[in-house]
């Protein structure tokens, strides 16, 4: 009996003891062990949110893994159909709640494509600066969480959050909120950056490489990290492309596809930065790529802060109230820190969208979770999930 399909999920979602086991009706395997079904989640201490994996184990090896979603399904799309275009902007903050700036940008980009709005140059630079700051704090926190899953019990996470607080200070002084910034508008940004803010951003950027060196000295040559992450959860290039995997996971397999270079949205084609690529597609490659991407983000930030011109922070003719885009549809996507974040909007000429669809990178990246975890131990399954970099607000929308 295929228990993952036949049994209603409400029966099996025992939230209390984390490893509630039932033996399945499969024939016992050759060495006499029976298969055990474990429901990992939706409440489990891996701090990735309310995500559940129905895992079938033979001893410690995973033979089947089915992810279960929907525990944070908050109906962004239905709510957006009843809200104006600008009114959905604060909701996009809450999709990938680590990076509200990039979510806002992706949505603003899609609406600008739909309505043909142009963005002034200074606004584009501000967008790049805030997006790269967002990428920095996302990657560093993710590494903190990943290493915590491997057993580091919170110390690298403390360092990561210390740096994150510095970046959140910047966001707070700019937008008024630490996490849910609601900063981008259709045609630019909500308010201008001051020279003092740019100076502080410059200070944060200059202090970051030293922190990264310290972080790497702790982690990158750490025996435990190396042995727990090399060769674990390897992913091939063809499978990654077929499964729609994007972001650092795709580049870890060696495919050179970074939307900042491939699509060159905004003004990314003015910046000089490299795209790190991995070779094996395992957890260590994903970890290393994120470290290298942080260094490239610092390079972009330096260039952007140096070159930002004077000008408008929002298009002077941008209409905030009574915004009605023309009929039609548009799909806009950006390179969010977790992958390709896209928004598909269908407009029927009214102030509210007819269809509002979010293309979440974490959700699509989970398509091959089972493939990556088969044959690995259950402890490694936790690490592989950590390296996929999921945020449930985005997965479940």
């Amino acid at each position: 009996m295929n228990s993952a399909q036949a049994t209603p999920s409400s029966d099996r979602a025992q939230a209390g003891p984390m490893f509630e086991s039932k033996t399945s009706d499969q024939a016992p395997s050759l060495d006499g062990t029976e298969r055990m079904e474990v429901s990992m989640g939706p409440h489990h201490p891996s701090t990735h949110g309310v995500f559940r994996m129905d895992v079938e184990l033979e001893g410690e090896t995973v033979v089947k893994l089915k992810p279960v979603f929907g525990y944070l399904h908050r109906n962004h799309e239905k709510i957006a159909e009843g809200t104006s275009y600008l009114g959905s902007m604060p909701y996009t903050d809450r999709l990938d709640y680590f990076n509200s700036m990039t979510n806002n940008w992706a949505y603003a980009l899609s609406v600008e494509k739909l309505a043909g709005i142009e963005v002034p140059e200074r606004a584009e630079y501000i967008r790049v600066i805030t997006a790269e700051l967002s990428r920095l704090q996302n990657h560093v926190c993710l590494i903190g969480f990943l290493v915590q899953d491997m057993g580091a019990l919170g110390t690298p996470l403390m360092y990561a959050f210390r740096e994150r607080e510095r970046i959140l200070d910047l966001f707070e002084s700019l937008t008024g909120a630490r996490m849910m910034c609601n900063y981008m508008r259709f045609g630019g940004c909500r308010c201008d950056v001051t020279p003092a803010w740019l100076r502080q951003a410059h200070q944060v950027t200059e202090a970051f490489p030293r922190f990264l060196d310290e972080f790497e000295a702790l982690l990158s040559e750490n025996e435990v990290l190396l042995s727990r992450s090399q060769g674990v959860g390897a992913l091939g290039q063809d499978l990654a492309i077929a499964a729609g995997v994007t972001g650092p996971m795709l580049r870890a397999t060696g495919v050179n596809y970074d939307l900042r270079k491939a699509d060159a949205y905004g003004i990314y084609n003015r910046f000089n930065f490299r795209v790190p690529l991995g070779s094996h597609g395992d957890v260590f490659d994903r970890y290393m790529i994120r470290i290298l991407e942080m260094r490239e983000s610092i390079a972009i930030l330096r260039q952007a802060i140096r070159d930002i011109p004077d000008g408008d922070y929002v298009h002077p003719k941008a209409k905030l109230r009574g915004f009605k885009p023309p009929m039609g549809e548009a799909y806009g996507r950006i390179e969010a820190p977790k992958g390709e974040l896209g928004f598909y909007l269908i407009s029927d000429g009214s102030p509210k969208p007819y269809r509002f669809k979010v293309r979440p990178p974490s959700f699509i990246n989970l398509t091959i979770l089972e493939d990556m975890c088969l044959g690995q131990t259950v402890a490694d399954a936790v690490i592989i999930l950590g390296s996929v970099d999921i945020v449930l607000g985005e997965v479940d929308r």
Partner: protein
């Protein structure tokens, strides 16, 4: 006890208190939260426990993964109808005395997602909440203030048998875990908790 006498004794190096005060002091300063983060507010909860807004100095450093070992559940984030039975089960598995903090607008009343078909409009439809923290997400300082409010509430507990509280706890324990019905949870709320008189208010 007379305050003057108390301070005289303290000067002589004798410390007097009641057993109740001592017990509540110990309990309120070593709350063990359940590691239960649902959504965005969970990140602010984690940030509160990190080095800048240290939660450890309030005694709440050890976030327990198992509800059997925790006495404080911080419901941080939107509770969806799919997740609601698990939240109630976790609450039931916590041993008494247990406290619940509803952190964020979503846990209080559904928050910005109130119009959602899958969103539970507030966790206090099913479990009694002690402290509500408004905000979306509330700042770490707000969570610290809530922990302090809860500590003040705990110090007002009595060590002896409190009939009203025991009855309340029995009533709450007897209410069933909601099931997933064809359209909505069944029951969609526990009226006795949802319309509870504000007897659990903190006397500040």
């Amino acid at each position: 006890m007379d305050e003057g006498l108390k301070s005289e004794l303290q000067k002589a190096g004798i410390f007097t208190t009641t057993l109740s005060d001592l017990y509540n002091w110990g309990r309120s300063n070593s709350l063990w939260p359940l590691q239960f983060g649902l959504a965005c507010c969970a990140i602010e909860m984690i940030a509160t426990s990190m080095s800048r807004y240290d939660l450890a100095r309030f005694g709440a450093e050890v976030f327990r993964p198992s509800p059997r070992q925790a006495d404080l559940m911080i419901v941080s984030g939107t509770v969806t109808k799919k997740m609601a039975p698990q939240v109630v089960r976790l609450y039931k598995q916590m041993p008494s005395p247990k406290y619940v903090i509803a952190m964020g607008a979503c846990a209080i009343s559904g928050g910005p997602f109130k119009q959602g078909y899958n969103v539970l409009k507030g966790i206090d439809r099913f479990i009694p909440v002690d402290v509500h923290i408004p905000g979306c997400p509330p700042r770490p300082e707000a969570l610290l203030h809530a922990i302090m409010t809860l500590q003040r509430k705990i110090t007002q507990d009595t060590l002896g048998y409190d009939r009203r509280k025991e009855e309340e706890a029995e009533l709450v324990a007897s209410l069933p875990v909601p099931e997933h019905g064809p359209k909505d949870l069944s029951p969609s709320k526990h009226d006795s908790i949802w319309h509870a008189a504000p007897s659990r208010k903190v006397r500040t």
